[in-house]
Every structure is written in structure tokens, then in C-alpha cells.
């Protein structure tokens, strides 16, 4: 049974249709001791089904520890949001070369880009993470983060964006929430 109602699915489809970049959800899971990994997997599978621009890559926290480290993830379930960098960004490479299915495991290596919303392997980290199953309000936040990574304009004011662009040191923010 699906977690999302038909009406919600339709609303999300319409919102995702306006995305101009592909988004990849990196799902860090582990087989043992992760009570909500199953629920998270189902939520992400449903999201993926709503847009060609959304893909999910499941990464085993234990077996693929290097990748988890690369994203600063040490718990499961966790989601890191990456997005296609390329032609839709000013100053982007705008390569027109295309290939079919990407080979290899993605990661930081450069690979060919694709057009028409197909997944490029030059994915950029949005530095937005979710720890815990994205249900309840977290789901709303996840959808907003996907739309933002997918090309929607920031909801922040121009003054705020200027302020943030001037940041020149690492800042790590943890936002604690509960599902209800």
C-alpha cells in the first residue's frame, strides 16, 4: 500500500514537473539495527516514482563506509541530497555530450552529462542531510529540499542570500525535529 494518497501524489508530481535539474537522493542504510530503514526506503521509492528527475541510490553505511564518510554520514537512516550540476547553472559546463546509462558508482569522478533530465553523473552535494525516517513534517522538508536542489528559487530574501554568500568558514547546523 502506498503511503501517499492519490491526491498528494498528484500534487507532488506537478511540483516535481517544474524541476529543471535532476536530483539524487543518497540513502544511507544498514541491514542490522536500523528500525526505520524500511520505512525510509518505501518513502524514497514513492518519491522516485513521481518524477523522472528523482533517483535514489542506496548506500550501505557499513560496506561503503568511504562514501558515507565523504558525505559526513555515520548513522542510518540518513539521506544526502545531490543534484545535477551543469548547463542550467550560470557558468556551468553545459556539455552536450550524452551517454546512455552511466557506468561505475558515481562518486566524485567526472563523467559524461546527459540532457533531457536524464541522470548525469556529475552530481553536486547540496550539503542538505536528513537523519531519521522522513515522515511527518520531515517529509515536507524533504520535498522542499528536493525542489530547491531541483532548481526552484530559494525562499530566502535577497539580503539573507547576500549574507550567506559572504560566509567564509565551515558552518554545521543540526536542526532537531520530531515527526509531529
Amino acid at each position: 500500500m502506498s503511503l501517499l494518497s492519490a491526491a498528494d501524489q498528484q500534487k507532488l508530481r506537478e511540483a516535481f514537473d517544474r524541476m529543471t535539474r535532476s536530483v539524487r537522493l543518497l540513502f544511507f542504510s544498514q541491514a542490522i539495527g536500523c528500525e526505520t530503514c524500511g520505512e525510509t526506503r518505501q518513502i524514497l521509492d514513492e518519491l522516485r516514482g513521481l518524477s523522472d528527475r528523482i533517483s535514489v541510490e542506496e548506500i550501505n553505511l557499513v560496506l561503503e563506509g568511504d562514501k558515507a564518510k565523504q558525505y559526513g554520514v555515520d548513522r542510518a537512516p540518513a539521506i544526502a541530497i545531490a543534484y545535477e550540476s551543469g548547463s542550467s547553472e550560470p557558468g556551468g559546463s553545459g556539455e552536450s555530450g550524452r551517454s546512455g546509462e552511466s557506468s561505475g558508482s558515481g562518486g566524485s569522478s567526472e563523467a559524461s552529462s546527459t540532457g533531457d533530465g536524464r541522470m548525469s553523473d556529475t552530481m553536486k552535494d547540496s550539503r542538505i542531510r536528513f537523519l531519521g525516517a522522513p515522515s511527518g513534517w520531515e517529509f515536507v522538508s524533504l520535498v522542499q529540499a528536493v525542489l530547491l536542489a531541483g532548481g526552484r528559487e530559494s525562499a530566502l530574501s535577497a539580503a539573507s542570500l547576500d549574507r550567506l554568500r559572504a560566509v567564509d568558514r565551515p558552518i554545521t547546523m543540526q536542526v532537531f525535529t520530531t515527526p509531529t
Partner: protein, 60 residues
């Protein structure tokens, strides 16, 4: 905010699933934001005030 600056990483943590983290950062109400392990922002603030507080954290 993370999307606006390459230096900012933001993680939404589901507090009930990670009670050890909630304890470590003494989360007694949500939302609670912890910046660079030090600055604590309780509740929801107006955008400008939130950003000022978040950026007030000392250098690590």
C-alpha cells in the same frame, strides 16, 4: 541556507530516532538548531534573526 553557501552543511535530525544525539545536545523542545556544536537556537525565529544567530558562532 546550506544551498546558498558552499561552507554550510545542514542536517535535519529526527530527535526521537536518535535519543543519544537529542541527549548530547540537550534537546527538550523542537525545533532546536545547534550550530557548530555551540550556538543554540530555540524555536522558529524570523529569517533575518535566525541567520544572524547562526552566523554568530565562533570559528572552529
Amino acid at each position: 541556507m546550506a544551498f546558498a553557501s558552499p561552507h554550510i552543511t545542514a542536517t535535519a535530525v529526527e530527535a526521537t530516532e536518535f535519543p543519544d544525539l537529542a541527549r548530547k545536545y540537550q534537546v527538550s523542545g523542537v525545533p532546536k538548531t545547534v550550530v557548530n556544536e555551540e550556538v543554540e537556537i530555540l524555536g522558529a525565529l524570523p529569517e533575518a534573526a535566525f541567520i544572524e544567530q547562526a552566523l554568530s558562532s565562533p570559528r572552529q
